[in-house]
């Protein structure tokens, strides 16, 4: 079976792609639900010592930038739309690098990952950045694969994934700084 055969049914394939992305996001939601459950259990233990830091704000800003980039792309067309995708990819890549820096600073800082709160900060951010890395790679791959500007369906999926990851980041930071 050659994949081009399926291209003869674009609407079905687009539908399939949407289902695939929603299914992947459902699995991601369950992954974070599991991690959050573990966090909520662990924070009730005696050795829980939360700390505060300013790092969430730059990360949140980059997440928001990615979401704004994709919305800008959705509201334009042609070359500008393609540029919007590029902006999204850059914002996501910057986020990944920044999150890595935060995790490294926690791991190398006082108490390291031995302190349970810090371990959860690194864990939640780390898993989120792995997903962001995946989404960024997907966006770059879409840009390389598409001969012209991204299709409406690609755009829809990219918006869904980007906003999902930004919302997830907000939820993680809410958890780490409000429910600590």
């Amino acid at each position: 079976m050659n994949p081009t055969t399926l291209a003869q049914r674009p609407s079905a394939i687009e539908h399939a792609a949407r289902i695939g992305v929603v299914a992947a996001l459902s699995a991601t939601t369950m992954l974070f639900a599991s991690l959050v459950s573990a966090y909520l259990v662990r924070r009730s233990f005696a050795d829980w010592r939360p700390s505060s830091a300013l790092w969430p704000f730059p990360l949140l800003a980059l997440g928001l930038l990615a979401s704004l980039g994709i919305e800008a792309a959705a509201r334009s067309s042609g070359r500008r739309r393609r540029q919007g995708f590029k902006a999204l990819a850059w914002a996501s890549a910057s986020y990944v690098v920044s999150a890595l820096a935060v995790i490294a600073s926690i791991a190398l800082g006082q108490g390291g990952l031995g302190a349970p709160y810090q371990a959860f900060v690194a864990l939640l951010l780390g898993v989120h950045l792995v997903h962001s890395l995946g989404a960024t790679s997907f966006a770059v791959w879409m840009l390389r694969e598409a001969s012209g500007p991204p299709s409406e369906n690609s755009l829809l999926l990219a918006r869904l994934v980007t906003h999902f990851l930004t919302a997830l980041l907000f939820a993680i930071i809410f958890l780490l700084f409000v429910l600590r």
Binding site: M1, N2, P3, T5, L6, R9, A12, I13, H15, A16, A17, R18, I19, G20, A23, A24, S26, A27, T28, M30, L31, A33, S34, L35, S37, A38, V41, R42, F45, A46, D47, A107, G112, L113, G114, P116, A119, L123, V127
Partner: protein, 546 residues
């Protein structure tokens, strides 16, 4: 297979193919090879339980790190049952039923030309293949394979120096499982997309075979349940290598030295593991139940009774499987109130399960049954489902489970309900769809003999385990007879082991039948079973010399 298959090289046609049928067969053959490994491990475990001082001779020469002058070391025994459980549950039964039959049949049964994402499908298989190799490679590392059970409970799995199997073998186990989950997730979203989006427009969901329905629910279960094991595995890897203490409790002492850090909760792992672990039971069983329903339809000549209620029952079983994980943890110090809640949800699963059983009875009632080999296996599944389901109601009650937890009763129960029903499903499916896969029929005579021997020796192996468990036979113990009260059970254990050996020997008939029929089986023709589902009635679905 596509029409230009003959112009493809062997590698692109059979190894790196994007064709769902080839990928399905790749899963089946890989699972079959791994079943030999998993089965052999089970036999060694059984021999050890029956005769703990047995000299293992050749096996000890092949795996010297596990034996001391031919006699098995306790830690190696733990590694054997760990690898047996892991390989059989994930790498054999899940892979064969879901990767094998699912990939081959879903597109055909929904009238699609292939899976929605063929490249993703091929990637899924290859990730599974790599994860299998990683899992098996732990047998050749100096410290041996993981030895903390298929459940990988910490702190045994979290502390690298606890026992030899807690070293590199446990890391390989975690990495292999993580890859397996990635493979399963990719497969699951492909199944969902194919069934929901690529279904023929004229085919409604209520026209689908129940096997395809079972695959839909299995895909949903996998997508929603496996992430909790992914989360737990990442946390366990961090505990092992990054100095975290998610699961390592305070105050542990290892070889006389206090374990640094700590403060975590091993029970947390149990919650995360069993949130996957129980749905995994249904991930294995639902395909078999779907196959059974479809075979009853074909071999009674009557559509399965209460088709719609069968679908609803599968949906309820799937949904409720997320609400019962606590029944695996009744002895973990759980609040009695919470335990009661889990006992109630566990018991409630008997309702949709009962719907299925009574619908099957109504389907079979007063009909001339065609006792073909696939039908025999389907009847076998029916029997195992009822037997194992009944002992499941016992174990779902806190008062009884506390007595029977970690005994041979539990081993007997889950081998009948989960492993048995799934294994019989694999055989039922292989016999039924063999003509579709290869254009030939398997021998009915050999098939019937294989079924009868397997059915008899399966019960002979696993039913007495219930009795042993009731008499206090604990599981996962290297030498049960070090305890005075278990010494009288040696003869029963020897009987179980002989039955297991006979069960293993009976499988030789299957392999003879399978490989002989591949070359010499009678040509099947287009409709060997007069079935009406699309995989048989659509002409392009016929095997083209795969």
């Amino acid at each position: 297979m596509s029409g230009n298959a003959s112009s493809q090289s062997f590698l692109s046609r059979y190894v790196f193919s994007l064709d769902h049928r080839v990928i399905g067969l790749q899963y089946l053959f890989t699972a079959m090879a791994l079943a030999l490994v998993g089965g052999l491990l089970a036999l060694i475990v059984r021999i050890q339980i029956a005769w703990p001082d047995h000299d293992f001779g050749l096996i000890s020469a092949l795996l010297p790190q596990g034996f001391d002058e031919g006699v098995m070391k306790p830690e190696f025994y733990a590694a054997l049952f760990t690898m047996h459980g892991t390989i059989m549950i994930f790498f054999v039964l899940s892979a064969a039923l879901i990767g094998g039959f699912g990939n081959y049949l879903i597109p055909l049964q929904v009238g699609a030309k292939d899976m929605a994402f063929p490249r993703l499908n091929a990637l899924s298989y290859w990730i599974y293949a790599v994860s299998s190799v990683i899992m098996l490679s732990s047998f050749v590392v100096p410290s041996g394979p993981a030895a903390s059970g298929w459940t990988a409970y910490p702190p045994l799995s979290a502390l690298k120096g606890a026992i030899p199997g807690s070293n590199l073998g446990q890391d390989l186990w975690l990495v292999a499982m993580a890859l397996f989950i990635v493979s399963f997730t990719l497969g699951g979203l492909n199944f969902l997309a194919t069934i929901l989006a690529l279904r023929k427009p004229e085919l409604s969901m209520m026209d689908l075979p129940l096997f395809t329905w079972s695959m839909l629910f299995v895909a949903i279960l996998g997508l929603l349940a496996f992430p909790s094991l992914t989360a737990a595995s990442v946390m366990l890897l961090l505990d092992r290598h990054a100095g975290t203490s998610f699961f390592i409790p305070m105050g542990l002492v290892l070889s006389g030295d206090p374990v640094p850090g700590g403060g975590g909760s091993p029970i947390l792992w149990q919650h995360l593991f069993w949130f996957l672990g129980h749905p995994e039971v249904y991930i294995l069983m639902l395909p078999s139940l779907g196959i059974t329903s479809d075979l009853f339809t074909v071999f009674t000549g009557r559509r399965v009774f209460g088709y719609r209620s069968m679908v609803i029952a599968m949906a309820l079983i799937s949904g409720m499987s997320f609400l019962v994980w606590g029944h695996h943890m009744f002895v973990s110090g759980m609040s009695p109130f919470l335990g009661s809640a889990f006992a109630v949800t566990t018991t409630l699963i008997a309702v949709p399960s009962g719907v299925k059983v009574f619908n099957w009875i109504a389907t079979l009632w007063n009909r001339p049954l065609q006792l073909t080999t696939p039908m025999l296996w389907a009847l076998g599944i029916f029997s195992l489902f009822v037997t194992g389901g009944l002992s499941g109601i016992w174990l779902g009650q806190t008062q009884i489970d506390i007595q029977l937890h970690d005994t041979a009763f539990v081993v007997g129960h889950f081998h009948i309900i989960m492993a048995g029903a799934a294994l019989f499903g694999v055989f039922a499916g292989l016999h039924y769809w063999f003509p579709l896969f290869f254009g030939r029929l398997m021998s009915e005579r050999l098939g019937a003999a294989h079924f009868l021997l397997t059915f008899v020796f399966y019960y002979a192996t696993f039913f007495p385990m219930h009795l042993a468990g009731l008499r206090g036979q604990v599981r996962r113990v290297y030498d049960p007879y070090q305890y005075e009260y278990l010494k009288p059970l040696q003869s029963m254990n020897a009987f179980i082991t002989w039955a297991a050996v006979a069960l293993a020997l009976a499988q030789i008939l299957f392999f003879i039948n399978f490989f002989w029929s591949l070359k010499r089986g009678a040509p099947s023709g287009a409709h060997p079973w007069a079935a009406e589902s699309l995989e048989w009635t659509e002409p392009e679905s016929l095997a083209e010399g795969v």
